[in-house]
Amino acid sequence: MSEFSVGIRQRDTVSVLDLRGYLDAHTAPELEKAFQKELDEQRYNIVVNFSDLSYISSAGLGVLMQFIEDVRRNDGDIKLTNMSHRVYNVFDLLGFPMLYEIFPEEEEAVKKFLNKTEKLS
């Protein structure tokens, strides 16, 4: 399906997932695969960059929910950044801002992970 894609970048110890296109129940398995891959390789510091995502339905949020417990159990987190107003509105309507850290810019989310790692080491 070309309507949705996930790119994965490594920034230091942080994995950045770039979402593009249209994320709904039909394309959600793509995102699921991407998350599963990160978890399989034990990378738990995950930033999801929404800047190129034009639409998200609750199925996309479902994928985030599916992995968050596992990620946090491993001392990681899923942080969300660069949401358009339209995308943020869906998160807001469904009460997700209380469950996830949402940043305007990717940089801030990455920095937060890296600061935490520094403190630990």
Partner: protein
């Protein structure tokens, strides 16, 4: 006197300036908190009061405290029912003896918080809110000028508060609409995705997404009814340890259960579900028929489902239920089509193996019939010419049904056609056929087989009966006997005991009637078998008939006996008769 007047005049001018300023500030804002805070601070600052509250209207005669200064919010109730009817500033002490009990109740609370005055905010003859103020820090009493000032502030504030309330209400409505639109989108999407797949796993995955993403529910389970019992098809409840036998009564469930203090578990099943962390149980209906149940755990981030969310949940459960039901029906149809296809393949193999026309044998009549049953029983017969005066006749019944049986039948035919031209003695040829079948099939596959060679010059028939139903021989005008010489059925032993053959002489009018067990075991409607006895009597009556007439007679009897009852086995007959004139 003069000084006092001047003071009053100055006060009025400074009051007017303050009011104008307040009015400008308030009307420039649509933020209710900001407006109320400013109203309180203006009053408190001007009159040197240390505590104050503002209530605003939230329903017909319903008010809620929305701003508090100098007091702790947990000191008192936040919501009050207040009747209309205040026009002016009132002393709390006066209100404590008011006629209306709701006013007295409110006044008591206000007095408890040491509030002295309450000022109604009125717009178009209606109260939009109430300001309450405590004592002056100086201990001085409120003057009539103070009262006038407060009423002016209340009047200025009323417009701004009403405006802000309207905007707030619109914002809430707007958000509710957004939520509804969002829910409709999800339902639409869910329904579209679920109905374009017939994979139960995909349907359940889409349901999981919706539960997690739309409702923030991470723990859930789906049970579906398979015609006999409820079975778990999706299980995301780590603490679920309930014997599914105990769940069966939930199929009676028609309404959603939301466990709460007001609706605690009422029976053993509900207790068990509640103990497993389930908060919500709802029936999954498809075309109003219960097809399963959906159990949900707590929501991440807490909170109960509101009316909109419950409506959504019901719709979601029913869409999923219908999709699962459709998937089941499609699978059933495909399976049925597969079986039908297999049967039609088996049928065409069988038809291909049976001789398309029986060779004419001078001085003899040969008639044959095969009627395949619903499941294709694997019957076989064959007639072929070996030489000018020799013909092979064979009839057999392969174990099993469908394609495997028809393939085994093809095997038998290949063996027969390969071995009979070798002109080996019949017992040895039969051994060879057995060996071929044995090596080509598993031990549980076997064939009952009767075959022989007709010599039209010598008028003899030499046969071997390998475990097949004994054919009838009618000869000498009156005698009947069975052809039973031979040996073991084919295909079960690599080295069976030696087969024996028998050669019989055929006089004019002599007839051999061979058949498969579909004939003597044909079933009537009352599950009665046609039986060997009935067949023997019937064959006896055919003594003067031709081969074809004999065949038709037996067939007609079976048709009338079974009277349309579906038969589980093929009906096959092969009849040979020496013409009476030859």
């Amino acid at each position: 006197m003069n000084t006092e007047n001047t003071d009053n005049a100055l006060d009025i001018i400074s009051d007017s300036a303050a009011l104008l300023e307040l009015s400008t500030i308030l009307n420039a804002s649509t933020d209710l908190e900001f407006i109320l805070g400013n109203v309180l601070l203006s009053c408190m600052g001007k009159l040197l009061v240390t505590r104050g509250i503002v209530l605003v209207q939230t329903g017909a005669s319903h008010y809620r405290i929305r701003s508090i200064k100098g007091l702790r919010s947990d000191d008192f109730d936040l919501e009050y029912d207040l009747p209309e009817g205040w026009e002016h500033v009132q002393r709390v002490s006066d209100l404590r003896t008011a006629a209306h009990p709701a006013i007295r109740e409110f006044a008591d609370c206000a007095a408890g918080c040491e509030l002295e005055l309450v000022i109604p905010m009125r717009l178009n003859e209606r109260m939009v809110g109430v300001v309450g103020l405590g004592k002056k820090i100086t201990g001085q009493k409120f003057t009539s000028a103070d009262m006038t000032f407060l009423e002016s502030v209340a009047a200025v504030a009323a417009t701004a508060v009403k405006g802000a309330l309207t905007i707030e209400e619109l914002r809430i409505l707007n958000r509710r609409l957004d939520t509804k639109v969002q829910e409709m989108n999800t339902l639409f999407e869910t329904s579209r995705e679920m109905n374009t797949t017939f994979e139960p796993d995909t349907i359940l995955r889409i349901l999981s997404y919706a539960l997690m993403g739309q409702l923030r529910v991470m723990r859930f389970a789906v049970f579906t009814w398979d015609g006999e019992r409820l079975r778990p098809v999706l299980m995301k409840l780590p603490d679920f340890d309930i014997d599914t036998d105990a769940l069966q009564e939930l199929m009676e469930l028609r309404e959603t259960i939301l466990f709460s203090e007001r609706r605690p578990p009422e029976n053993a099943v509900e207790n068990a579900l509640h103990a497993a962390g389930i908060h919500t149980v709802l029936p999954m209906l498809s075309q109003h028929q219960p097809r399963g149940i959906l159990c949900l755990g707590e929501r991440v981030g807490g909170g109960r489902f509101d009316t909109l969310e419950l409506e959504y949940l019901h719709a979601l459960a029913n869409i999923a239920s219908s999709a699962l039901e459709n998937a089941r029906l499609v699978k059933e149809t495909i399976e049925k089509q597969r079986i039908e296809k297999e049967l039609s393949v088996a049928k065409s193999i069988q038809k291909g193996l049976l001789p398309s026309c029986i060779p004419a044998v001078p001085g003899y009549e040969i008639a044959a019939v095969n009627e395949s049953s619903q499941q294709i029983g694997g019957d076989y017969y064959d007639v072929m010419r070996l030489s000018e005066h020799e013909y092979v006749l064979a009839i057999g019944d392969v174990s099993g049904k469908g394609i495997p049986a028809s393939l085994l039948m093809a095997n038998v035919q290949a063996a027969l056609r390969t071995i009979s031209p070798l002109r080996l003695p019949l017992p040895e040829a039969t051994e060879r056929i057995n060996a071929l079948i044995y090596s080509n099939t598993s031990a549980d596959k076997f064939i009952t087989f009767f075959w022989g060679i007709l010599d039209t010059r010598a008028h003899s028939f030499e046969y071997v009966n390998a475990g097949h139903n004994h054919p009838y021989l009618l000869h000498d005008g009156t005698r009947t006997r069975m052809l039973d010489a031979g040996g073991l059925i084919l295909g079960i032993m690599e080295h069976p005991p030696p087969y024996v053959s028998e050669r019989i002489a055929l006089g004019p009018g002599d007839m051999i009637v061979t058949y498969t067990d579909g004939v003597n075991e044909a079933m009537s409607h009352d599950m009665e078998e046609f039986s060997d006895e009935r067949l023997a009597d019937l064959v006896e009556q055919c003594r003067t008939l031709t081969a074809e007439e004999t065949l038709q007679r037996i067939r007609a009897e079976i048709v009338s006996f079974t009277a349309g009852t579906a038969q589980s086995d093929d009906i096959t007959m092969l009849v040979l008769r020496r013409s009476p004139q030859s």
